[in-house]
């Protein structure tokens, strides 16, 4: 099955970003595809390259990038939501790209399922 994922919450504050990551990982392990993950609302913080968690904690930002590279996932950050929260090209983490909301709607049209992670 082809999944599109939407992540709506920020890093560390909320578990939905962790759950989304685990879901995507599990989907690939089960032989499914996840062509695109779309980050909206505070979810755009997942793409902040300035994020520096304590060393004994998971690094949510680089963890996404690694997964995306392994599986060729298109990780898209909403431009309007990102600019509002200070995420720009200059601090955009590796593996992400900034684009418009049309990418979310398009993913919803093309995927078999769109799964939303957030409150």
């Amino acid at each position: 099955m082809k999944f599109a994922i939407m992540v709506n919450e920020g890093v560390y504050q909320h578990q939905s970003t962790d759950t989304a990551y685990q879901f995507v990982k599990a989907a690939f392990e089960k032989g499914h595809e996840v062509p695109r993950v779309f980050f909206y609302h505070d979810g755009v913080y997942n793409a902040n390259s300035l994020t520096e968690p304590p060393q004994d904690d998971r690094n949510i930002v680089t963890r996404w990038a690694k997964l995306a590279q392994e599986h060729n996932i298109d990780m898209v950050v909403c431009v309007a939501a990102a600019l509002r929260r200070g995420i720009k090209e200059e601090n955009l983490a590796e593996g992400f790209r900034i684009s418009g909301l049309g990418q979310l709607v398009e993913a919803g049209i093309q995927a078999d399922r769109l799964v939303v992670f957030g409150d």
Binding site: P35, R36, V76, R97, L104, V105, G108
Partner: protein
């Protein structure tokens, strides 16, 4: 990557002509969090994709379309007039859960747009018939 799509598996597929039933589920009060405002931005974009779009309002989400919102005192933009403009984007299916209105002492007359009020059970049926449900 290009603006159109960077999705490897999406790239060679032609999505034109596919019409899916999109439902945007609004469950949160208009102010206090940004969910409602950013939800509306997605709804407006979706109109450009010629999809079968509907909006559902339940829980505190019903407050998003209540008449007479005055936001000056909290220094926020009153975006409620935008709901009236949805008709111009051919988004005319607005569903409101009756139980949510009742629990808040509201009736259809308190709302600033024409909606279809339905029971929780009818709303559930409506949701099950959708292809894509995005909840805010």
């Amino acid at each position: 990557m290009t603006e159109s799509t960077g999705g490897i598996d999406f790239e060679d597929e032609d999505a034109s002509g596919v019409i899916k039933k999109f439902m945007f589920v609004n469950r949160k009060a208009p102010y206090g969090t940004i969910y409602a405002l950013e939800s509306l931005e997605v709804v407006l974009i979706s109109a450009a994709f010629d999809q079968d779009v509907s909006l559902a309002f339940l829980d505190d989400g019903v407050y998003q379309i209540v008449k007479g919102q005055h936001t000056k005192a909290i220094a926020m933009k009153n975006f409620s007039p935008t709901y009236r403009a949805l008709e111009g984007y051919d988004i005319e299916k607005l569903y409101v859960e009756k139980e949510s209105l009742d629990q808040r002492g509201l009736t259809e007359d308190d709302l600033l747009v024409d909606v279809q009020v339905m029971s929780s059970a009818e709303m559930a049926k409506m949701m099950s018939e959708q292809d894509v449900v995005i909840s805010f």
